[in-house]
């Protein structure tokens, strides 16, 4: 039986995206996720991680970001914890997706994609931590 829970930590560097992908792919394959599900979850985790790395800290020090993945009864649960500034990505503005090319802005697209690919996202600030819990049905 493969383990259906995993925890790993990354530092606040974009080069860690390789490790993020490796960890997710290993876990996803061990619990039998499709390539498409792994792709979509990877994209969402990257968008959240990149936001944290880019905006959460006001110094260049190394900080740790925790990832908890679990899979039970066809549901993937991803919990992401960071100790950066308080930030609720669910409050990000939805981009205007219907405007002309010239007026199109890229901001907010990452969170928009995250909301699209997940069935449920929940944010809490707990002490000095941002805790984001994402759920996706992968049946």
């Amino acid at each position: 039986m493969s383990d259906d829970k995993v925890f790993f930590e990354l530092t606040n560097r974009l080069s860690e995206l390789e490790a993020l992908h490796d960890n997710l792919k290993n876990f996803g394959q061990s619990v039998g996720l499709s390539r498409k599900a792994i792709f979509e979850i990877n994209l969402v985790m990257e968008e959240i991680f990149t936001n944290i790395v880019t905006y959460a800290y006001d110094n260049d020090d190394e900080h740790r970001i925790g990832f908890f993945l679990s899979h039970e009864k066809g549901m993937m649960v991803i919990r992401i914890e960071d100790t950066g500034m308080s930030f609720n990505p669910l409050c990000a503005r939805t981009p205007d997706l219907e405007c002309a090319l010239e007026d199109r802005k890229i901001g907010g697209l990452g969170v928009y994609l995250a909301k699209h690919f997940m069935d449920h996202i929940d944010y809490v600030r707990c002490g000095n931590k941002n805790i984001l819990t994402l759920k996706k049905s992968v049946i």
Binding site: L14, S15, L17, E18, H21, D22, R35, K36, F39, E40, N42, L43, E46, E47, T50, V53, L97, E98, A100, L101, E102, R104, I106, L109, G110, Y112, L113, H116
Partner: protein
């Protein structure tokens, strides 16, 4: 462990710059892609195709570069076309609404013939 970098192979066909992407286009690799595309635009390239046939992954960082290039090319009278996407990558372009202003073709030949 296998490195997950991006490889960008640039070729010319009928005066069209073709960029074949291989690997993963994410927040860490998109700068290299941006440099390559904008280098070509600066050198006078106005007709471009991005070939996704061997691309495994894209996030909003990759979409940002394509949007920026599409705006720049439109401004200078050029055009960018995309081709050969896996269905799950195409879906990202559709969700983001990019397919409404950047044509996506099933194959490279169809994209080349469109110019």
């Amino acid at each position: 462990m296998e490195r997950q970098k991006i490889e960008i192979i640039e070729t010319m066909r009928n005066n069209v710059s073709i960029f074949r992407l291989k690997g993963r286009l994410d927040s860490n690799t998109s700068q290299e892609f941006e440099n390559k595309i904008f280098g070509a635009i600066q050198s006078g390239s106005r007709s471009m195709i991005i070939d996704f046939k061997t691309l495994d992954y894209i996030s909003s960082a990759g979409l940002r570069v394509i949007l920026k290039a599409a705006k720049e090319l439109k401004h200078s009278g050029g055009k960018i076309l995309l081709c050969s996407m896996e269905s799950y990558i195409r879906e990202v372009f559709e969700i983001a609404g990019f397919d409404s202003f950047i044509p996506i073709f099933p194959t490279l030949d169809e994209a080349v013939n469109h110019f």
